[in-house]
Amino acid sequence: MPGLGTSFGRGGATNSLQDLPNADCILIEGSNFAEAHPVGFRFVMQAKERGSKIIHVDPRYTRTSALADLYVPIRSGTDIAFLGGVINWVLQNERYFREYVCAYTNASHILTDKFQDTEDLDGLFSGLDEPPRVSDSLPSVVMYDRRTWKFEREGNSIKSDPTLQHPRCVFQILKRHFSRYTPEMVESICGAPREKFLEVCRALAENSGRERTTAFAYALGWTQHNTGVQYIRTAAILQLLLGNVGRPGGGIMALRGHANIQGATDIATLYDLLPGYLPMPSALRHEQTLAGYLKNHTKRTGWWVNTPKYVVSLLKAFYGDAATKENDFCFDYLPQISGDHSELPTMFAMKDGAVKGYFVIGQNPASSVQNAELARAAMERLEWMVSIDSFETETASFWNREGVDPSTVGTEVFFIPAATVLEKDGVMVNTNRMLQFHDKALEPQGASKSDAWFLYQLGKKLKALYAGSADAKDRPILNMTWDYEHEDDRERERGEPSVNKIMQEINGYYTATGDQVKGFTELADDGSTAAGGWIYSGVCPDKHTNLARSRTGGSGVSLGWGFAWPANRRLMYNRASADPDGNPWSERKKYIWWDATSGRWTGADVPDFPIEKAPNTPADPNAGGIEAHSGADPFMMQIDGRGALFVNEELQDGPIPVHYEPLASVTPNLLYKQQHNPVLRQWKRRDNPYNGAVNPEYPYVLTTYRITEYSGGMTKHIPWLAELQPAAFCEIDPVLAAEKRIRNGDWATISTAVGEIEVRALVTGRIKLLSIGSGERVHQIGVPYNFGRLGFAHGDTSGDLIPLSMDPNCSIHEAKALTCNIRAGRRPRRDAATDPIDLDVPEKERTSEGKAMLHGTYHDFPHENPTCG
């Protein structure tokens, strides 16, 4: 979530689902809320019952649209143009919340005269003329030199113009930048009827300001693009202009795709993160020592002045007594990344033979990833694979697929049956950033074990194998703290680790006494504390309390239910719910305010602000940390305490969002000469062919999604769910169906340069016939991704249509806006012996061994804001 992270400071949803009923208007875009989050959608329905206006902007008329007050169709991949149009409308018609914008955003900051906008360079920002050299073997990697995307400084202060008139102040730059996103242009690019677009503009403006608030909700419809981060940035800019961030019924709900995806990113399943959004050390930066690392990742001002405390405490949690001040707390034990080791690029390395072994836990890449056949072919080149899941997945049986003779596959596959969620203790972190403990309800069936059991036992076995070694390279394993023996005799005998002990370690403790820390403010950088994930600090404030278990509910904020990071705050940046003087913006939207009598911030939630810092406290730019912020700067994590309309150097592809067409599109970019994101990542190999920018062979827009009947690609093994959507299908409009002679329910074959899939056709008026540009008709085709070879409801997977290309910021793939062709009937049988996707690519096209995986991200610029997630 670098979009939210760079804009506000933390990469998580700003508000909670339970807060949605407080909204006067809810804009759902890039999300099929009702289908993908049916339980959370109850809060949208509650808002609707209270009279809020519910708007859904989406390429398809879905179950969410059916329940919304207003549905606006849009061409897939054009949300930046749509929201950019709203921003332009808000600015041109003076409908922004001026006091909020002046006080709480960086609108008044002045940029250096070296910065050039897309208005000056026809779709590019300054800094692309001489791309920094990354590697000689990488001609195709283009990246911005972002040093011109900076504010002008006077000593330690940022220059600013509180009147917002300076031509180089962020506000004016923004106004100019979005001026070409007119309602006419929006209609032409997005295909959304102008009247409907204007209705959205008016609804957002009417429901924002002192008295009213609008909430946004998005999900993977915004993230899975090669400009995905900028989609979220556009929403962030709009919400800041409307004054809706940090206020009840406002903010941006990032709806997470899976039950525990928030927890997974918090505790760092991503390759470039350590727990708590601390960046992974990189071999490509000068951070081979703790000092070098801390220099790169500690900020002088804002909350990240505390980085050393969190890193040292993490190392103490990892390596215990072995981590001392003298040995840099074992910092050099940590692996250093040397490129993009994220999941999808690793598939190329695997295909080229650079990866020998593969653990797949609770995931099914053979069915769900982009260019899925490439992933399956890559697995053939492995020596071994361990697949841990509740069902045999397409991944575990990749060797037994169409067009492949299993006897030719040498990979040794270990399939470990996994306990389901009901069969183990654990914690889920939901989309509200809330930790909730769940107890085991049943014993695991058969031989299945919890994932924690597997990892714990693997660690113990590794330690035993290395025991007695004097080799320095074995110290990280030998010195790893690994004592999570279960309190219960029976569980201990079975080898299950204690979830409580793991949580207590994550919470943090004093190394001398073993007592729990009560919150992350107690963590220190001298080795006196240890914490496995600083953002969760406070969840286990003593040995007998686990707030993830607390269940005191009720209406309203319900601070006694579960524990939300950070520090149990439910609505982040809530200082902004009061005006600069500390009074509520209005009685109706009262939430957190300054109580002058007690000299404290008070209200319905835990204040996201130093509790005793008065609103009139002046900023001290020469001081470090949050002393550099005034008592009216609500965004503590930011270096300037302000919400970012303009992001300095943190993002790879621009400080302000720009509408580019997707890599494969049906139209030239109507706004700029630059067709697609100039710095997106592509892999030009013969096993990853692209359709091309505007290719008449692929005249239709293709989008992929999930449906409510399934959770990912796993639940098709459940007969009760499989009967509800029993076959892979596509959704097409009646006009296209008639043209192609495809009858409802018939087979249809969808093709791209990567491959073909056969699915059943669902012909429906829910897929709208859009007209763009000067009246060109656009057909869109939707394909749910949930299907695969196995299960009761089986069929081809949409992953076999999608080539891999990625956003340059956080390696998110493009899966929502693509192009394709379609014809009636079934596809021919696949033959891996001749399919270029399955065959080895020539040496010069290979990207393995980490060579071409050296992407710019880690070359020149440190992560300014370690909030990817």
Binding site: R42, G191, P726, R766, L790, F792
Partner: protein
């Protein structure tokens, strides 16, 4: 005391959690895996093994502005009629009205005659034949999948020849629990409770929606003719036929007087005719 369901279709999101929760609690097997092409409805109708069924009614044009666009969703269920056709027709007394005033089939008494099936004006009751092999066994990994198919068939396997329909989760109600479908509904589109209280709530809801300009009305609360009030009633915004509900459900027994009279007349006529013919033949 009488309990029932109030199903408010205006807040149904079509998630089908009710269908799944019902099947899980009542241990009903899946009905097979056939792609219908009928919007998102692949289970088709209520049956002996599908006691909650969500129908999807698409009223849309592919035009982007589509002001009239609607996608109606409605979770259908046994109506638990005041005058239940199934109960009247049952010759063995297997169908009773239980202590919650719900219409309940006692499987151990039912002899599988099927009279109730044709007597239900809503087409709800169905006979469960012995649970056969799945209709579609052409899975890629046949052995593995068929194995799973067997393990999912429990309660009704091999108990062939009984009438089956929604029990209003009699077993759950007995221990003070809400029926599975209502419990699982994320938006409270399905509400369970004491019927008088539900009717009150529902009429208020109708008023509120009408004020907002929606053509909302209740189906099954006071105007359903010979079947009487329905203990499972619905809030609709289109005519009943749009949801595949009869506009005027008729209890088959109300046709009986006319039936007897016409039968008697026919018999009399035939007798006369026979006499006349035999007389003429002489």
């Amino acid at each position: 005391m009488a309990t029932g369901f109030f199903t408010d279709t205006t807040i149904c999101i079509g998630c089908k959690a009710c269908e799944v929760a019902c099947k899980q609690w009542n241990e009903l097997p899946s009905d097979g895996f056939e792609f219908s092409g009928d919007s998102y409805d692949n289970t088709g109708s209520l049956s002996g093994t599908t006691w909650r069924h969500v129908s999807f009614v698409e009223q849309l044009s592919p035009e982007p502005a589509g002001a009239e666009d609607r996608w109606l969703m409605m979770s259908d269920v046994c109506k638990h009629c005041t005058h239940a056709g199934c109960m009247e027709a049952c010759p063995t007394g297997a169908i009773i009205r239980n202590e919650f005033n719900n219409v309940f089939v006692q499987p151990d008494i039912c002899n599988g005659c099927g009279y109730c099936v044709v007597s239900c004006p809503f087409g709800v009751v169905d006979l469960i034949a012995k649970v056969n092999e799945p209709r579609h066994a052409d899975y890629n990994d046949a052995t593995l999948n068929q194995e799973r198919e067997h393990t999912s068939q429990t309660a009704l396997q091999g108990s062939g020849g009984v009438a089956a329909k929604c029990t209003l989760c009699y077993d759950r109600q007995k221990i003070g629990m809400v029926p599975a479908c209502a419990k699982a509904c994320p938006t409270e589109s399905i509400q369970f409770g004491e019927i008088e209280e539900l009717r009150e709530r529902a009429s208020k809801r109708v008023e509120a929606l009408q004020e907002r300009g929606l053509p909302a009305y209740l189906y099954g609360a006071g105007n359903e003719g010979s079947v009487g009030d329905l203990n499972a009633f619905f809030l609709l915004i289109d005519k009943p036929e749009a949801y595949n509900l009869p506009a005027e459900p008729v209890l088959p027994s109300t046709r009986q007087p006319a039936g007897y009279v016409s039968a008697a007349l026919t018999a009399a006529l035939l007798t006369l005719l026979g006499l006349a013919v035999f007389k003429g033949a002489k």
